[in-house]
């Protein structure tokens, strides 16, 4: 394109008067500076392209609506618009922060769905029913203490009061209950993990 020697003011007034090529000259003259200014703030090519486009859409609309007062400050005016749009962009991102996955890091490697899937739910159910069957095999006094402690979440003091034994006896029964459960589990190679 031929280098235009007219000042910005002349080109702006020509554009307002209907000369579309004047806009082309203005964009060509200032695009690098405005684009670099936006990029130096956002450091992203795509966002820079968007903000650059929005800036000139505002410029075009303002000029066509006759809202621009020519005071020989076309470039500072456009830069001000670009600056405001950059601020808008950061405000919008602060309200709704966006996380982008990089090549070496994926957010889904640290964020996982904590709920069990269908298979794991079935396994969990099986493990729980296996444990209940094993508890049924324990001697009655041990079984009673274990159920009160684990399923009813009672303290050893409460257990001792309810079963009319000392706390030490209740603790001992609990200990033997666990030892016996482990023995049976080891003996029969029962897997109780999900």
């Amino acid at each position: 394109m031929k280098q235009n020697t007219h000042t910005d003011a002349v080109l702006v007034s020509a554009y307002i008067n209907g000369d579309e090529s004047a806009l082309s000259h203005l964009i060509t003259r200032h695009k690098q500076r405005i684009y670099s200014f936006i990029y130096s703030k956002v450091y992203n090519r795509d966002i820079t392209e968007d903000i650059f486009q929005d800036t000139f859409i505002k410029v075009i609309r303002s000029l066509k609506r006759g809202k621009y007062n020519e005071e020989g400050k076309f470039l500072p005016w456009v830069m001000r618009i670009a600056h405001n749009l950059v601020i808008d962009h950061f405000r919008k991102n602060n309200r709704m922060p966006k996380f982008e996955n990089k090549d070496d890091f994926n957010i889904f490697s640290v964020l996982s769905d904590g709920s069990l899937n269908a298979e794991k739910q079935i396994i969990k159910g099986q493990v729980e029913s296996d444990v209940r069957r094993l508890i049924e095999e324990l001697p009655d006094d041990q079984k009673e203490v274990l159920i009160m402690r684990i399923y009813k979440e009672m303290s050893f003091k409460e257990i001792s009061l309810q079963t009319d034994v000392s706390i030490n006896t209740a603790l001992g029964r609990m200990r033997y209950a666990l030892i016996n459960l482990r023995k049976v589990i080891d003996k029969h190679n029962i897997v109780l993990t999900n």
């Binding site: 579309e20 806009l23 082309s24 964009i27 060509t28 695009k31 690098q32 684009y35 670099s36 990029y39 130096s40 820079t48 392209e49 650059f52 486009q53 000139f56 859409i57 075009i60 609309r61 066509k64 609506r65 006759g66």
Partner: protein, 49 residues
């Protein structure tokens, strides 16, 4: 080790950046398509494609 002085600095690279040709073309087309109609002190925008 010798230093590489030929490599352009980051600020120089930023200064040389420019928008894509499509973006500039879009803006010029948008400008051609946009017309503002004055009617009784009201301004209407019309985008004629």
């Amino acid at each position: 080790m010798q230093k590489m002085y030929s490599k352009t600095s980051h600020s120089e690279q930023v200064a040389k950046m420019a928008p894509k040709d499509e973006t500039v073309k879009f803006l010029l087309d948008y400008s051609k398509a946009l017309s503002v109609i004055d009617y009784n002190k009201l301004k209407f925008e019309a985008l004629l494609n």
